[in-house]
Subunit: 477 residues, 2 copies
């Protein structure tokens, strides 16, 4: 019967070992160098060139994880990880994902597992409530939410739905031959550039509007550029504004941009991938003022809301454009529920046809922490970032580049770019912490992203100490 | 310290409970009705309208899974699931995915976890060896493999890379203003239609070439259509051929199509999403004859290779076109390894920027089963399909619509479409098995997809008995 299969009994045994392995990992994660120290090719050469002909025991595989894989891990789950942006996890999320893997449901249609669709709809409505999103974004209104894999896919979906709205592309493909133009700020995430390339609109038809001293889009320049483009025979159709840019956490003025988009009939997408989670707390919602003027919005629980990758939440104010973009119905997927129009079939809301039971881990996270638990941790991270920013301000050797609206601190050591990069590289190579850099206004800027699930005051204090001590040593060299 | 977080101790306890829950599920899965019996809205109304303010214990969540979620599950992991296509899992795959969730690595760049990139490269090379893919598809040659989420994303990546190759789109966006035309058969998966819509090429520039009596693309018609399109000023650029179409498992003549594509300088993508796994066995490789003429190929371990969703394997013969399509490098992701050119950064191989540690579950599956274990199960499923097809052939009431090349049997009851649909719906509503239908040559055809991990002769015999007995009862009504 069970030739070659792992039996349920073996699964119980190995699965429990693996649960312990993961618990041990989180208990010991600070013992690893945060940034992997291996050289290119070092992992691969330890892996056999040929696949195994016969099966191997699970213990051997787990031993190889320890021996071969772990030295090649950069520890995103270390409380000393301050690089890029968070990709934080939590135990309830890991369990929710495990349940999803175990059930092995393929939820492309309502009919292929009604619970997968209906729980997702409910959880997305919960989140709309939790972030105080506009009414139109609820499933009970004209819009609704869907879980995408990443904000890159949401950006693409938004670009495509916008194209659909303006050109009725699916009914009239010739529409796209008009010269569509999209707008972002010079600080917008690169995923929008990728999206306009994918959509065939082309990078040269993406206008990067200049930013102000806080690295936020200048609405007046946007309005002027739209006017010029119309005069030149282009068809402006899409704007992406950001709540918390990746590079510096800048917040674009949503209301002013939204008013321009309404006047000009442009689709407004709001990218809150990194910082949208802050809207859980009422005191941060002023950053989203004007959100009711947006056509779509996304944020990533897999960044800052303790829900492991992948989990991007995407809402539209009018779901019809999205569905017109993605809907395709071959005979072998026809079914009564779909034809009744009473249900959502989420495969019509994104690129992929297939989808796993995506909402389980999000449901587990929200129920485990409750709204107040999530708020507690967001506030804690923001406080830690403010504490760090204060230290920078007080130091004679460092300057704060922007005042942090959320959990990202952008700062630099006085002096050259080279010194800053040397400082960062030296610290990262120590393995004690891992942080990263960007360029703002032409200068190298150091970034501390303070949002790992288990980061506390202790790690942030130590990081500041390490940075100042290393800087002093380098200055004296 | 741990306000609101689940502690490692609690995770050990709850995680082990969940491992047992999953093992119990697989032991008891045949007790559930395969197709969920709920009505639209029935699950959602049992879920609170408002999110919880305070956290809840894990036991309560798991109890709600049993009480609210399980009735809304269609059991893709039941050995009595014969609908659509498989989305099979296995215990080693579930454990691999659990490890990926636990490590919480974000592998967008080589530098953000070298092991995630290097294990993926190695495992994709293993699979190229296991399926005997052409040399060019190996990472050691001009091409290489990457794990995509689904075959829909692979189809899109192939269309985009083809556009890049023909028009140098990224360097010269005006190129796309030429009238690109893509070609599929009338039986090709709908994902290619979705891809040309997304890419802005438009549905009206997708030619659906007619098929022969085995539902395979007719190469002569393809050649003729390309000629006509060139005469009309179009720019033919892309063909998708299939090894095992979704509807009927038809196999397009790869070599003949490939020769046309070489003559005409068109990109050839081979979609083996559903049946590519069969290439593990040498005796099925004649179906892929001519694969060395293809530019890209994909198959889904998350369908028939015991690797839970999502896991689509995608190879290209020349990786440069793919990378030119997707590559974007903002300052905050710059690093030495990327700039050295010595490493792959897989975020340049697909739509998404972020990616989890995708290869772990595939590595676990290949090592657990070994090549011979995987071959054993593929052969078993094909034998079961042949046995079922034989019963159909011997029955005076049923006819075989196609001779099954792999694991999908297309058949129908003599008589009307309505009778066939009634037969299928009645059986599916019984909950004993779940199978589905398609339309071929204008007629309703029933489909038995025999590929669930744990399906054995017992379930297939019972299914045939149930179908014949129900048909007899309906005939006598």
């Amino acid at each position: 019967m069970n030739e070659y299969h792992m039996t349920p009994g073996q699964f119980r045994e190995e699965g429990k070992k693996l649960i312990d392995w993961i618990a041990d990992y989180y208990e010991q994660v600070e013992q690893y160098p945060v940034l992997s120290q291996v050289k290119p090719g070092e992992i691969k050469k330890q892996l056999p060139e040929m696949p195994p002909l016969s099966g191997e025991p699970f213990d051997k595989m787990l031993a190889d994880v320890d021996r071969i894989i772990m030295p090649g891990i950069t520890h995103w789950q270390s409380p000393n990880f301050f690089a890029y942006f968070p990709a934080n996890t939590s135990f309830p999320a890991i369990l929710g994902d495990l349940l999803s893997s175990g059930l092995g449901v393929q939820g492309m249609l309502w009919a292929t597992s009604p619970a997968a669709t209906e729980l997702e709809t409910r959880v997305m409505d919960w989140l709309a409530e939790m972030l105080e999103l506009p009414q139109a974004f609820r499933s009970t209104s004209t819009g609704g939410g869907v879980i995408q894999d990443t904000a890159s896919s949401s950006a693409l979906a938004a670009v495509l739905a916008a194209r659909e709205k303006v050109t009725r592309f699916s009914g009239n493909e010739k529409g796209v031959q008009q010269k569509l133009v999209a707008y972002v700020s010079a600080q917008t995430h690169s995923s929008v550039e990728k999206a306009v390339k994918i959509a065939g609109i082309g990078r040269e038809n993406l206008r990067m509007i200049d930013v102000d001293e806080k690295f936020a889009l200048r609405p007046n320049l946007l309005r002027e550029q739209i006017r010029q483009d119309r005069e030149s025979g282009f068809l402006p159709f899409f704007v992406c504004a950001t709540i918390g840019t990746t590079s510096s956490n800048a917040v674009d003025p949503i209301r002013k941009i939204g008013e321009i988009c309404r006047d000009e009939n442009l689709w407004l997408h709001i990218d809150g991938a990194m910082s949208g989670t802050a809207l859980l707390c009422p005191e941060f919602r002023f950053h989203a003022d004007g959100l009711e003027l947006a056509d779509s919005f996304c944020f990533n629980p897999h960044k800052w809301m303790f829900t492991n990758f992948d989990c991007d939440c995407f809402w539209v104010a009018d779901r019809q454009h999205l569905i017109n973009t993605f809907s395709i119905l071959p005979e072998y997927l026809r079914n009564q529920a779909t034809e009744s129009g009473e249900v959502f079939d989420y495969r019509d809301w994104h690129i992929q046809l297939g989808r796993r039971f995506r909402s389980l881990k999000l449901w587990f996270v929200i129920r485990h922490y409750g709204v107040e638990g999530l708020q507690f941790h967001i506030r804690k991270h923001v406080q830690l970032a403010r504490w760090f920013a204060e230290q920078v301000s007080l130091s004679p050797h460092f300057e704060l580049v922007t005042s942090p609206p959320f959990n990202l601190v952008c700062f630099r050591h006085n002096g050259t770019d080279e010194f800053n990069l040397q400082l960062m590289n030296e610290i990262n190579l120590s393995g004690k912490i891992f942080f990263s850099h960007t360029k703002l206004a032409g200068r190298v800027v150091l970034r501390m992203s303070i949002a790992q699930t288990h980061t506390t005051k202790k790690q942030v204090e130590r990081a500041w100490q390490l940075i100042t001590e290393t800087a002093e040593r380098l200055r004296n060299n």
